[in-house]
Symmetry: C2
């Protein structure tokens, strides 16, 4: 996966500039790529400014040069944003009808050699490709918030996608300091969001049944296994737990737990108004003394610290940092 060299697209279009689109925009333009932004919302420029300010603060704290920025244009239309782009990043709301109409418009407007990358967290590229004429250049490039700090991008191709497109996109992602994870098969929600959804479902049950509050659930994560998962995943962690017997010993010891009654709460709790109220009220009690902006700063400050630790040891997410320190090409 690390064979092809990192590179940068000459120009990128950002279609949809909410928190995710603005995160892409900041990562690309702070890395020196010229970008054109298209979003009909009047708040898009403000979101772009806020997210970019966060990104600049975070990259400054990481000691990454933010002075070589590319140009930023807010285009009058989607077509105008796309017309000179080598990479078009689509981050419109997660509804298939909106995705379809947006991607068809991008396909019609983007130059022949351009790559179209959807930020969808749930849809497969084959689902998205309906109505896209040149589906060979459509991929999913699913990032994680905050996009300007977390290196993961899940890259998913449809059967129509060419290998050249996949490799070019992966090289670009590496060029902006990301870790492209090429997902072997199209499935709904790719890989990471399937885990997030499994945890979210279980967490809703725990709140619904009064077993734990939102704060207690968050503490159960961040004082324990969350610390482990910032640097090793599930399997490597369990490999250690298996001792010198490794994974085989671990599974022999703990695999049986899979058939225990822990798994009984697998249907989906109904999102009643009452449950939503409970969650919103508990979340206010837990975090309401910080504004969202403060929480963003706290989160980013912590992530910056973790990335520095990991870069110092050339491990995990820290290995993606070097690309940000390379001189732009």
């Amino acid at each position: 996966m690390s064979d092809d060299p990192a590179s940068l697209p000459s120009r990128a279009a950002i279609v949809g500039c909410g928190v995710i689109g603005a995160g892409w925009a900041s990562r690309l333009h702070l890395r020196g790529v010229d970008i054109s932004v298209s979003d009909p919302s009047p708040s898009a420029p403000e979101i772009f400014e806020e997210v970019t300010a966060n990104a600049v603060a975070a990259w400054d704290a990481l000691g990454v040069d933010t002075a070589r920025r590319g140009s930023v244009t807010f285009a009058a239309s989607l077509a105008e944003a796309c017309e000179q782009a080598e990479l078009v990043v689509e981050s419109v709301p997660e509804r298939l009808d909106i995705k379809h109409s947006t991607l068809a418009a991008i396909d019609a407007a983007a130059p022949e050699g351009a790559i179209i990358a959807s930020s969808t967290s749930g849809f497969t590229p084959s689902e998205l490709a309906e109505g896209v004429e040149r589906a060979e250049r459509l991929i999913v490039g699913h990032p994680f918030n905050p996009v300007y700090l977390l290196p993961l991008v899940e890259v998913v191709a449809s059967p129509a996608t060419t290998d050249e497109v996949i490799e070019r996109a992966k090289a670009w992602y590496r060029g902006i300091g990301m870790h492209p994870l090429h997902v072997r098969r199209e499935i709904p929600a790719h890989i990471a969001d399937r885990f997030l959804e499994a945890v979210w479902r279980e967490a809703l049950w725990l709140v619904n049944d009064g077993v734990a509050t939102t704060e207690e659930i968050d503490d159960a994560i961040r004082y324990g296994f969350g610390l482990r998962w910032a640097q090793m995943g599930l399997f490597e962690t369990y490999r250690i737990a298996g001792g010198v017997g490794g994974m085989r010993h671990f599974i022999a010891q703990f695999g049986e737990a899979l058939s225990w009654p822990w798994t009984k709460l697998m249907d989906t709790p109904e999102l009643t108004e009452e449950l939503i109220d409970t969650i919103a009220d508990q979340s206010d009690a837990q975090s309401g003394h910080h504004s969202i902006r403060e929480l963003e700063r706290i989160r980013d400050r912590n992530l910056v610290g973790f990335l520095k630790v990991l870069e110092e040891h050339n491990w995990g997410a820290g290995q993606s940092m070097q690309a940000l320190r390379d001189k732009a090409e």
Copy 2:
């Protein structure tokens, strides 16, 4: 939860000295508590030495004083280990019959005022209490590996447990630099392991179906949401994602995904020999170039770095560090 002051038990018995029991042993005796260890396995002293060496290295790297150690005795019997203990930590294998016979023996041997804390990850204290005469002093205190670095301990009481026992145990956990999370209700696997089990089940499906390898799954965690969860949990992270609309807006946007087909793989994959081989082989390919000891050192070095970052900002798991720097009483 932080009202009662931190304190230390005068003497602790470690019943069961595998990786978890040895982790408890190292945390307690490095904090100055005298311990007696009981484990019939001939490898128990070696596991104790190895885990304690890791713990000393990690605490040294954190700048925590490790010179005030308590005494360590390997007792000839369970009864001998327990006879003067104020706290008995049970960490024998996760089988209910073994737990029952061990806890009954501890109950018979431990002084009247002693607290008995089981490290069980799955059983409820009510399940464990069958056969324990003085069930009012039995709790679950479920830690996370590596016990000498991760602060989380899930504290669970049965209806028989007295409040005094719960508060005394929580103060002791704080005294050894841990974060006691008092679980409101007894349910199988408490809180955190329900999440771990949900992710494990989904991960087995992804490997089983050839969607991802163990390494790809681990990367999907540690390059993305794993970094988030080391400092904020699920709900606080999503509160930020909801923007100024907070949790209510987030749920309105994404709650619907719960009923999407992402959730279809909720039954349990069969742990066939073939699947176990696949996982073990992929894990070897991913991590086999490091020994388990090396992986432990890498993990601990990264965790030490994270804890320093969080302590510097007095946030999350870093808030549990202060107790380790306090002078022992």
